[in-house]
Amino acid sequence: MGDQELEFAQRWRDNAYGCFSSGHKFCREVCPVMQVTRNENHTPTAFHASIVAMEKGLVNVEDVADDFVHCTQCGACELRCPNTLMTGDFYRHRTRTVDVVKAMRALMVETGNEREAWKLWNERLALDHNEPVLGDTRVSQAHVADWAIGLDIPVGGETILFVDCEAAFFRTSYTRAFAQLLQKAGFAFGLMREQWCCGGPAAEMGYQDLALKHATHNVEDWRAVGAKRIIAPDPHDYIAFTEDYPKYFGEDYEFEIVLGVELVNDLVKDGRIALTHPVERTVTYHDPCRLNKRKGVHEAPRELIRAIPGLTFKDVDRVTQWSYCSGGGGGLPIEKPEITREISRRRVAKAAELEVDTLISACPWSERPLSEAGHEANLGVMDLFELVAVSAGIEP
């Protein structure tokens, strides 16, 4: 075993032992990947056990590389871990699985055990500074703000709206809806001069240098225009800005990060956005993992949904949703698209049991797989901001 592996195992071993010594696997049945594959290698407990095994010289990074692809980094395992549930972090032994997966994937890259599809994906990111979300059609700086054509959004200012990758090039209707809601409320904001990917997905797939490079670029761009606050409508960006960036930049990271769904909810509550157009739909809500499970944000989207007139809302409680995921996160759809498809199919089937016509999400990355599954199951999938925009009378 190489020095890097040994160093890695020693760094993470106490955290891993917290899980290994328990071994009770409460995480297993909430893990979206495990629910599909039923393969014990893909359990969060196996991830931790592999670090203990690595320290003992029983496995090396090559042995476990494929296992560590099987994670959406949804964070359900951490919540369901009895240690986290019952004792918090009192002994600093909270089981940290998302961090472990990211770290192991970084080790995979460092040791030449990277996965082929992730490698290609991130090569394209390095080239175009946005992820290749349009497949063979290249993305580029020249088109990163095409979604905003006709909306007259200025560049720069104290408040910056951050829109990258999936939301900038693929799910643009969601982005337009969000920007128009802010405009309707008279909320001033600008775009970046040059917007690169947040770098979060690259970090999730183990490409740390690339992630840092993109983060550094974005922070410099914000500073150059005097930005003080960044609005992140995409939960993945929100995670990157509130968890990755503070680690990269430490105390020099001065920005206020505003979550899009909380901002729109506040604007509606303050009466700055009037929801006057009834939407006659029967809906349920899919908690995006990076809001509910990772950040504990579950009230704001529900308040917003309930504020839309005409909707019949059949909610599923947020704890039950710990075991739901779209399968769209953590790079899984790039390497294991068939697993993402099955996770989304199951999520949509759960929604269909409630006899709704629409599944609402609040995350652009979840909406591609959910929409595909919804299409097959004849169930509509809509973004929350698009629905709110309809109710606010905004013409797309």
């Binding site: 010594s21 328990s22 290698n41 056990a49 029983l58 042995d63 019952m86």
Partner: protein, 504 residues
């Protein structure tokens, strides 16, 4: 190795045969990581000898026929077979002692039939109770098996280990809740095991009753590939009450009073001793602090229809207070009972001799004991653990609890458990041997007081497996004859429960 000869390993030829049977290379896994992660369960583990427990190959079958063909192959080549479901067992049932082929049944997790008329559900062994009940709740019924590992253990493992249910006093345990099953025998035949002949019959007196034989055998007699389970009405309400005592014996007497009350909705009565309270007090930040005067706690729970439980709860309150018990309030009672599954895995830390918090594994030694001997056993068990703790410093005493374990007869025998923290990271050959010895001493006490080594976790591994012949006494030759008859080549989970003696 006694009595039998094994092929040393699964070679390439055997692997080819396995791949031909399964027809899907992704479900035949000889790779290092697949083997490593399926070589342990939450029981304390000699981490320094981890590789000794690796299976040679892991199979993920989807059908009974696949299981059968793999077992036939193993029997033909004299290769050990180890069945594994959730791998949450607290003895070593799902851990290979001699390598071989591991049959991991997690992909067999289908619900085959829900029969709301005759009140049964038929499932694959890879399904989890919580997941099953999520499906059943829409029909107003549940499968009431409720181990502490409810969120993650699987039906197949419950059957193989003869698991115990936290609601057992009300609804029975796995052995009472499995109506029939399909089993692959050690020679590969697929047989139906039930009461008499009917798959959904709960009681028959035709011929010999085989069902119990195939419950709790720890994978030594076969592999369950399908099970038909009992359904009960989803309880309309639950009631839990926790009572604090300043004296263990008063709490003990209260347990006796509560369990003899005759209320049919009584689901369980639990007695925590002062070591347990002290442990929770010092090491569990989530535990709602109790005054120093609290030396024992009794928890009681009831399940059923509102019209039964609500009036009965008033009687429970009266009885709980009748020997000086102090009701701990609705918040603790409802909250602690609701977290009964999570709390089981909470203690990931204990104290070394210097009082420092360190990561320890939780382990519990359990026994089935009569009510009358609980106080004496408690004293002897604590004394044993104290000796090992004092000498080695990597063990910690996390207290004891006793739990009604007789289905429908809660006054009868008790599941009694002492929880021991073990600093697994520090284990070496000497301290591992010390642990095994400690375990054996605890089991010996149980036998001396007319109890059983275990009520639910299985006398499977070194430390207590060697006492199985002593406990079974004059019945031991019968057990050996059965094992030999069903498994002529000792391929089914060899080395467990001292059953190798059947081949001497």
């Amino acid at each position: 190795m006694r009595g039998v000869a094994f092929k040393s390993a699964v070679d390439d030829h055997v692997l080819d045969e396995l791949r031909a049977i399964i027809g899907d290379d992704a479900r035949v896994r000889p790779d290092q990581s697949s083997r490593a992660f399926r070589s342990r369960v939450p029981a304390p583990f000699p981490v320094h000898r981890w590789a000794d427990h690796f299976p040679d190959v892991v199979i993920l079958p989807k059908t009974a026929v696949e299981v059968s063909e793999v077992v036939k192959l193993a029997n033909r080549h004299r290769i050990p077979i180890v069945p594994r479901a959730g791998g949450t067992g607290l003895s070593d049932g799902a851990v290979p002692l001699r390598g071989g082929i591991m049959i991991d049944c997690k992909l067999m997790n289908q619900i085959h039939e829900i029969d709301l008329v005759d009140r049964t559900v038929t499932v694959g062994p890879g399904i989890n109770m919580l997941k099953l009940n999520e499906e059943l709740r829409k029909y107003g019924v549940i499968y009431p098996d409720d181990p502490a590992s409810y969120p993650c253990s699987l039906v197949g493992g419950r059957i193989g280990t003869g698991g115990w249910s936290l609601l057992g006093a009300r609804y029975g345990h796995t052995r009472d809740l499995v109506i029939s099953m399909e089993v692959v025998l050690p020679t590969g035949e697929i047989v139906e095991i039930s009461e008499g002949g009917g798959r959904k019959l709960r009681k028959s007196s035709t011929g010999l009753t085989l069902k119990q034989l195939f419950t709790g055998h720890q994978g030594t007699l076969g592999i369950t590939t399908q099970a038909t389970l009992e359904l009960v009405p989803r309880p309309e309400t639950e009631f839990a009450a926790f009572f604090a005592f300043d004296d263990y014996m008063k709490a003990y007497e209260t347990v006796g009073v509560l369990t003899r009350c005759g209320l049919a909705t009584l689901a369980g009565v639990v007695l925590f001793d002062e070591w347990k309270i002290a442990y929770l007090r010092r090491d569990d930040e989530a535990y709602i602090p109790q005054p120093e005067s609290v030396k024992a706690v009794v928890a009681v729970a009831m399940y059923g229809r509102r019209l039964e439980v609500e009036p009965a709860s008033r009687e429970i309150m009266r009885l709980g207070r009748s020997r000086g018990g102090r009701y701990l309030g609705d918040e603790i009672s409802a909250g602690d009972w609701a977290s009964r599954h999570d709390r089981y895995a909470t203690p990931l830390h204990g104290r070394d001799l210097d009082g420092q918090a360190v990561i320890m594994s939780w382990h519990c030694e359990d026994a089935a004991l009569n009510y009358s001997v609980l106080p004496q056993v408690r004293e002897e068990w604590h004394a044993i653990v104290a000796r090992y703790r004092e000498r080695y410093g990597i063990f910690d005493d996390w207290g004891m609890f006793a739990y009604t374990s007789g289905p429908h007869k809660p006054w009868a025998d008790y599941l009694v458990e002492i929880d021991v923290g073990i600093w697994e990271q520090k284990l070496d050959d000497e301290t591992w041997a010390a642990w095994v010895s400690c375990k054996r001493e605890i089991a010996e006490v149980s036998l001396r007081y007319g109890g059983s080594i275990t009520a639910c976790h299985g006398a499977t591994r070194e430390g207590d497996a060697e006492l199985v012949p002593q406990e079974l006494g004059s019945a031991w030759p019968v057990v050996k004859a059965i094992k030999r008859a069903l498994d002529p080549n000792n391929v089914m989970n060899p080395g467990k429960q001292s059953l190798d003696e059947a081949y001497e």
